[in-house]
Amino acid sequence: MFGYYFDLALRSLKRNKALTALMVLAIALGIGASMTTLTVLHVLSGDPLPGRSGSLYYPQIDPRESQGYLPGKTDPMDQMTWIDGMNLLQAKRADQQALMTGGSVAVQPDNSTLDPFYQTARYTTSGFFPMFGVPFEYGHGWGDAEDDAHARVAVISSQFNDKVFGGGDSTGKTLRLDGEAFRVVGVIGDWNPNPHFYDLNRKSYNENEGVFVPLSTSQDLGMIHDGSVNCWGNGGGGNTPDHNSPCVWLQFWVQLDSPSKAAAYKEFLVNYSAQQKALGRFGRPPNVQLRNVMQWLDYNMVVPDDVRLQTGLAFGFLLVCLVNTVGLMLAKFLRRAGELGVRRALGASRSALFAQLLVESGVVGLVGGMGGLLLALIGLWLVRRQPAEYAPLAHLDPVMLLITFLLALGASLLAGLLPAWRACQVTPALQLKSN
């Protein structure tokens, strides 16, 4: 039966090629546009560390003066001061913790064919590597001992390893950063969390940190800080604030393996804030937040507004294309009322007619959907050529491929349902009589 309907559908579609092409094109354009934008949105709002992100938290406290504080309305600071960061780090109340900030270092390669260059870097305490589950290609991260000893050790990314050392196991090699010799202890494998959740102050996506050195060492050597600095009161500006100044410029992350531990940690932050207020360091009553990775990304609204707008726009466009196709299909089916009337009179049931018409609209939808997939691939290729920082990430993954397929099928059936139902309502006698 299906084969026969399929044959009928092809005949009918062939009878009016321009119209068929128009319907297929409309569906293809609509699906192509919405899949392109939906894929970008999906990539950008993804989980940077699947399986881990639920137990990673970003504590926020509020060390500012009392002025300008509205209870329940003022958000705590987005970063930490040096003093608070160090206090919380040394309290070791979480399963893992790390204090860090971004920077850039001048790299002087021994390799004379390479000019000196600046590399974005991360200055962090040792907890960073185990807490974020950083995979190592060679070697390992450093430990607390190196942090305490202000050791000249560095971990590098595999990309940086290829560029400076030509790949291979580079542990033990010497790297010159800002004129000082550092010993490479580890080379990170394929690890590039997107969004760059642990520090959103420079780029939210596709950040390329090539060098990791201990925070303590970076401060000894006065390595350049790169990121946001927010001061209040009499805090001076400057890119690397004094450790005692009222400025926030560090990120502090903790790992808390259960909700009860998270609740206990929040309690600890409240107590810490109250204690600091009693000491006169904080001007405000305890104002704390403890967000996990996804909540932190939501709070910072990392997905660009333009991407959301584009997705909405594309779905609006898809709606227009679908309505357009429904209208055309309806007109087409109704015009064949005579033919349908004959089939009804010869004994075909309503459901048989309905199935026949659905097959016809299904063919249009399927071809349109395939065209849409092709257009989505072209669309993503165009997105990758855009100047946006997230552009290189725009690739179709299996999940989105499945969604595209379902969307195309759903759209075409939706487009065929109403016209097919309406066309089945014909009264055979009337159709046979009139002509």
Binding site: L22, Q310, V320, G327, A331, L334, A388
Partner: protein, 399 residues
Amino acid sequence: MELLPILSSLRRHKLAAGLLMLEIAVACAILCNAVFMIRQRLSEMQVHTGLAESELVWLKTDGVSGADATPVTESNLAALRGIPGVKSAVVVASLPLSNDDMNFNPSMDADGKHRGPNMELMVGSPGYLHALGIKLVEGHDFSADDYAGVDTWLPHSPSMIVTRAVAERLWPGQSALGQAFWIGTKRYQVIGVVDHMVRGELRGNASEYTALFAARPSAELSSLYVLRADPSALDRVLRDAAAKLAALNPQMLINDKGTYPGLRGNYFASDRAMAWLLATVCTALLIVTALGIGGLASFWVAQRRRQIGIRRAIGATRGDILRYFQTENFLIVSGGIGLGMVLAYTINLALMSHYELPRLPLAYFPVGALALWLLGQLAVLGPALRASHVPPVVATRSV
């Protein structure tokens, strides 16, 4: 033209006419908002930075640290001025639209109780106002003595120049000259007002909240060189300047360099891409809608051949038939537009609450309506003409 027969015929095609109306409504809503957003982006891209943009090139280096920062940077500047075609060379803290700025909240009284709005701290070396092409509209430029040292970016000299936007915001209705504010405990007094100078990034109404200060080159103020040169020789001057800096300072790294028009183009790259995307979708939307209207009209014409023949046979002219289809289209499109306006307004309200977009100006409604009416009439013209050519004899044929 009698509307009643058209309306009663449309009532027999409720579903198809309703769908077409819905399509036009959604298209109308999207078009109004998309065109509005395109115009927003374009007008933002027209922003006047206040600089002599076409004459500027810039080089960002890692700067000079330590005590000899001042003499080294000054001799670099002198050497750069020696390049043929260079009119002036200065070092500044940041450039407008460079996505890089330093901001502060001034205190409006000595004890810091009352704070002013967030604004940018712009610092530059001797003669930078003139070199960048910034125009003074009141007061006078910095004197040679004003170019003194800085203390973590806070200039020692108490003189400052503000933009007209700052003057009007802080001291409305009075002359800004002689007024003062504090940064921390340091007092600064206005000696001049410039017409325009935008910040490192655009921030809506606060885009021109800039305060300008004077300083001599120092460890802080030694990394961003800006040269004013003959517009036709920008590329050569940029190459020569980079070569000269590298030759004079073997240890110095040049992180980035370019012309000011290039920097401006980069700043607006994503806006330009978004405007193009919106325009493409609008075009596709118009085409799909026009084809939909035309397709449906063709069907109706083919379906009503007999009726048209009868009408012709009993005396209707070709013009009558043509006008019938045109009026029918006008009615459907009008219905769509009516619905579309409500939808456009609703979408705009949603966008306003989520994306800081201003209210859709009322002028968009009549213009959008006119455009869609025109589109509908164009799309229906072909089928309607075909209908008007149906001969009366069709009425007499049985099939």
